[in-house]
């Protein structure tokens, strides 16, 4: 029991319980971390996915060279996967109707699952699926009705 008390006291000291009057401006200094590649809206999601697709393709070409100096394209693939999985949330935060949101959500879920299985070894089929997904997003954008400008603020 004495040992437990000593340990708890030690942890208390280490965790800074006994610091005297540390000034603190806010009780919540840590806001939500937002990923840099979080899209502003659906159109931005398409742009960001295509940018990364292009970067990935360039990276793959350079990887054919024996001593390429480019960074691995794993980051692009990971970011594409993340953006794809965020699309349903971004779409749900617009005036897109539930009927029009469901195909996007289904497509994002299927594509995410496929890309996870493929890992860093994408086939031509994976690439085509990503392209088709971008196309589906583009088709959905005109369906967003009468979004008031004040509602269009990106809010990750």
């Amino acid at each position: 029991m004495r040992v437990i008390c000593v340990i708890l006291f030690g942890v208390a000291m280490l965790s800074g319980c006994f610091r005297e009057n540390t000034p603190k401006a806010s009780l919540f200094e840590h806001d939500h971390e937002v990923a840099q590649h979080w899209p502003d809206d659906l159109a931005d999601a398409v742009v960001k996915i295509r940018e990364r697709l292009a970067r990935k393709d360039n990276g793959s070409e350079h990887e054919q060279e024996p001593e390429h100096s480019h960074p691995p394209h794993g980051d692009s693939i990971r970011e594409i996967l993340e953006i794809v999985s965020w699309v349903p949330e971004i779409a749900a935060d617009t005036n897109l109707s539930e009927k029009d949101w469901i195909p996007l959500d289904n497509a994002a879920e299927t594509l995410s699952a496929n890309l996870r299985i493929s890992g860093n070894q994408w086939s031509e089929s994976d690439r085509k699926q990503v392209e088709a997904f971008c196309h589906l997003i583009e088709q959905s954008i005109p369906k967003i009705l009468n979004q008031h400008p004040s509602q269009e603020e990106p809010f990750p």
Binding site: C17, F18, E20, L27, P88, E89, E153
Partner: protein
């Protein structure tokens, strides 16, 4: 505010909050213990928990899942089960599983992340209680500790109103006896945590990419006392913030399933050595499962928030930056003081007062034994006034309790339209306070709104059998934005323009969310 005051007052606040939280389930635990004693009796209790058969472990787990108790409310039941000679393995299975899930929390859990996650958690808990139960029984066979108490006369011979009175006396004595002492021992864990963990200390300890997250949670979860509903809401926040699923599982099993008093009770009754082996076994199994599920159960498509407020409740509620000590104490307790907790606490206090009087005047259940045994003539004269076997009454009472908790599910999670009315009220209060620069009022209504958003989903699930993905996504969005609003309101000083920007972004989301649930 001085650090020592922060530690002492913070600890006392946590104990007071814990006392209000534990009151409903402790009361249920006292009732169940009394039913086991005077209605099911020794043999009935042993049968309920599977007796000496192999099915005793899963059966105890299943019974535990049905009864609405927490890790403190389970203690009076454990004491009674031990009196009845239930095997230690079954005791451990019941002790760990009963607080984990009850109908209310299970429904809540099913709407959190993917339902599969909660089903897997339940299955994981079955694995744990079975493995530990087998270990416990093996240890006990070596020790051969036969502990069955002889059947007392009150249990056998009291009937009707006398038995009902014996039940009340039993509950009153329990409310002032070992159960009360164990309750305060369990709640002292919260005070220790408040002393050890400064304000907000757990906000970054359980990130999904942090390999130490399940172990961090393990260190905190043992002294934690958490009701099943609290643990489920924390699980919800963890999934919302994409925290470590392994840490969530650890919290559920160790934080909700046990507390310091559980450990102490086992050690006192079965020896420190056996209990230590049991405890180490529990930690090893829980950590093994936690690390096994940590990666596979990460919810897809959720962006990690980088922190969580789910565990602020275990850290000290005060910081050196807090001013207005009495106001903070009052607010902290007021937030916890829901109507069910307050009523149950009042009933418990009445039982405790009665228990004290009973102890002072030396009254016990033996005085309630019928003085003269019933003669055959008396029995024949009853005709249709049949004496129902007490086991039948006992089982009926327990089934009634389970049925009551299922009915309670429908009351606690009302129909979507009713939830939407409550949400409209909370939303108006919260947003108008936020816009007019009254952060305290807004911060009071914000958790109410968030809580009703969960109830809306469970209420829909109960009545429709599903919550559509679109509805879930809108719920996710509204809670995400509410949390951003909470952050803005907590800033010191509050930046009105930032607050108003968040409020503006909440309004359209709220419209879409409400419309998706509205029943025409």
């Amino acid at each position: 505010m001085s650090s020592i005051i922060v530690i002492i007052v913070g600890g006392l606040i946590r104990v007071a909050q814990g006392l209000i939280a534990v009151a409903p389930t402790l009361l249920v635990g006292l009732i169940i213990a009394a039913i086991l004693r005077y209605y099911l009796g020794r043999d009935g209790t042993r049968r309920l928990f599977g007796g000496d058969s192999l099915r005793s472990l899963p059966q105890s787990w299943f019974v535990g899942m049905l009864l609405p108790v927490c890790s403190i409310g389970v203690l009076p039941i454990l004491i009674q089960m031990r009196r009845s000679g239930v095997k230690p393995g079954a005791l451990s299975a019941f002790a760990l599983s009963a607080p984990l899930f009850n109908p209310l929390s299970l429904l809540y859990g099913l709407t959190l992340s993917r339902p599969l996650v909660i089903v897997l958690f339940a299955f994981g808990s079955l694995l744990i209680v079975t493995a530990l139960g087998l270990l416990w029984d093996a240890l006990n066979r070596r020790r051969q500790t036969a502990t069955v108490e002889s059947v007392d006369e009150v249990e056998q011979r009291s009937i009707g109103l006398r038995r009902l009175a014996a039940t009340v006396v039993h509950m009153a004595r329990d409310a002032t006896g070992a159960s009360l002492a164990l309750t305060f021992l369990a709640l002292s864990g919260l005070a220790v945590l408040a002393a050890v963990l400064p304000f907000g200390a757990m906000q970054h300890s359980v990130e999904r990419d942090d390999l130490m997250a399940p172990l961090n949670m393990m260190a905190v979860a043992v002294p934690v006392y958490a009701t099943p509903m609290l643990a489920m809401s924390q699980l919800g926040m963890m999934f919302q913030h994409a925290n470590s699923p392994g840490a969530a599982f650890t919290l559920l099993i160790l934080g909700t399933g046990m507390n310091i008093a559980t450990l102490f009770w086992f050690a006192k009754n079965f020896g420190w050595k056996s209990s230590s082996i049991w405890f180490v076994g529990l930690l090893l199994i829980v950590s093994g499962i936690s690390y096994a599920i940590n990666r596979p159960l990460i919810p897809p498509g959720i962006e990690p928030a980088g922190h969580t407020h789910a565990f602020d409740i275990y850290a000290n509620p005060l910081s050196n930056a807090h001013s207005g000590l009495w106001f903070t104490i009052k607010e902290s307790i007021r937030k916890q003081a829901d109507i069910a907790g307050l009523i149950s606490l009042a009933v418990l206090v009445c039982f405790a007062a009665l228990g004290l009087l009973i102890r002072i005047f030396g009254v016990d259940e033996n005085r309630l034994i019928r003085a003269v045994p019933e003669t055959i003539e008396e029995r024949l004269s009853r005709r249709y006034d049949v004496i129902v076997p007490r086991g039948v009454i006992g089982v009926t009472m327990l089934v009634g309790l389970v049925a009551l908790s299922i009915v309670a599910c429908y009351a606690y999670y009302p129909s979507p339209n009713e939830c939407l009315e409550e949400i409209a009220l909370a939303r108006t209060e919260c947003l108008s306070a936020a816009n007019s620069g009254d952060p305290d009022h807004a911060l009071f209504w914000l958790p109410v709104w968030e809580e009703w958003s969960r109830r809306l989903e469970v209420g829909t699930f109960l009545r429709k059998g599903e919550v559509r993905r679109y509805q879930k996504m809108q719920g996710h969005l509204i809670r995400k934005k509410l949390e951003l609003l909470e952050h803005e309101l907590e800033h010191d000083p509050v930046e009105p323009e930032e607050v108003k920007a968040v409020v503006r972004s909440i309004l359209p989301t709220n419209t879409r969310w409400v419309e998706s649930f509205r029943i025409p």
